[in-house]
Amino acid sequence: MCQVDEDYHDGLDRAEVPSVFKKCVKCKEASAAVVIRAGDTFCRDCFKEYFIHKFRAMLGKNRIIFPGDKVLLAVSGGSSSCSMLSQVQEGLSQNAHKKLRFLPGIVYIDEGGVVGQSVDERVRTVAELQAVFRATGFPFYVVPLEQVLDLPSSVVVMAPSSSEQPASAYKEAVDQFLKSNSGSCLNPKDQDPTSLPVVPEAHTQFLQQLIVSAKTLTARHDLLNTLRQHLLVHTARTEGYRKVMLGDNCTRLAIKLLTSISLGRGAQLAQDTGFSDSRYGDIILVRPMRDYSAKEIAYYNHLFNVVSVFIPSLDTKTTEKASIQRLTESFVTKLQVDFPSTVSTIYRTSEKLQTACGSSSTDDSSDRCLLCVCTLDTSGENSSSFQATLTSEQLSQTKYPARTKTDRLHPAPVELESSVPSGSCCSSGGGEDCGEVESGEGCCSSKEPEKTNLKTLLCYSCHLTIKDMSSVEHLPQYILLEAQRRKRRSKMREEISEFLLDDGVCFRVGD
């Protein structure tokens, strides 16, 4: 019983060694070519039909993409997103009643600068992809990741979706502000899609510094994902798209789900892995490939000549313990070998997750994480595990300033307080230090307090990522500017809080 190899291998492998002569489970005539789930064998033609049907069924079932919608396809060159592109092409060429009716565009984000590709290599990769894109006839945008440095700070602000009305007068004002803000960034520029935008060398270097300033590969990954998503959303906004299709397949989502949990993103799971993600308000991210396993996609691409372009990424040729993402991937794929339902089991779990309150667009922008734009998960009860983590961190590490909230509960020893660098103003922590960024004087010149300042604006997981960075100075301007704005805002709100007719305040006054 305890010998795993003996028992399980006999049961799983030996029992069903399929033969070459096995027939397709669907037409029961042609000989099988692909094994999809354990035991389900498909012939070439039935596999194609099944694959194409699944894409249309996914879009039909979820009813998020309306006819005439402008949809931006985020294509990375990888097999999943290229397969998605070919499915959209397929869907648009179908006869009347099956036809997809949205207007697609393609965006490719060139991350070559971050992963250390030379300019020549980048030009070659882009040329290869442009050939693929041009063949589709869809409009396409090639955006170098370096453009993330020029983003407006409205990217990390959730824009209101047009259908919902703000609830209170204050929120209306905020919405007005947001509207005007997002309106200002809606200036479509005439970018010639055939020519690659010239990237200044300095920008590439700045970006490299930013990524290298994260000490672990895990944090670098996380950071890159965040920046990429900001740039995608920004491109969609400036080019007038309302939906963005991402190519995440179900194997990848299963890995992402477990990775997210390990990274402390439990609260954001539903948005990170669900079919649609409306955290940006006006732009909805959609994952239509989430029903396909990586295997199905690789086989389809191979059998039906879907071109994909391999581009090295941060974790190319790294060992399986190089990052949490990599380790999770190897865990899931190894388990999948002996237990073929691993991925689907994890994936079904992600399907059951729902965003309870996170998707409401009336939320104040200051309740959102500065980086991932999800609802902050750090405002929990005093008894939450987050608070417990903070307390133990504070007790075990003297170099982190104490937070006021936990201070009251567990007064820190005096020597701990005095060892905090650069004076007492930082040790007050919490909401009190918000004025410091604004004034930009005193202790803010040292790096440590700057990090703590961002902390109150970040969700738990993004806070961990930032903690892994040697310095936040390398962050793009739009993030730092937005951080300052939120600080000022929360300070102002604190100052005028007595005069606000907020529900909570009214209640207290009435008491």
Partner: protein, 101 residues
Amino acid sequence: MAAPIAIHLEFGGGAELLFNGVKEHHVTLPSQSEPWDLKQLLVWIQRNLLKERPELFVQGESVRPGILVLINDADWELMGELDYQLQDQDNIVFISTLHGG
């Protein structure tokens, strides 16, 4: 004594990086006393073609989990996986589905 057999190997999805970036290989396997099977092919690839980091391609006797194998455009699970006996002019494809190849 089996005669030498010529086969076509293809690497994709990033797996080609371990082979100097070359995707397609036409190789001839030398004659040996018993017929060639896939398990022996993997050992042969590891000794003769693989340029670096063998652990990223082979693990144990089989390919690394996450790398798919197609034999003549069919899933190798249908062909008996490692026990498949190679024929002359066979087409074997290795596709990595792992992130970053």
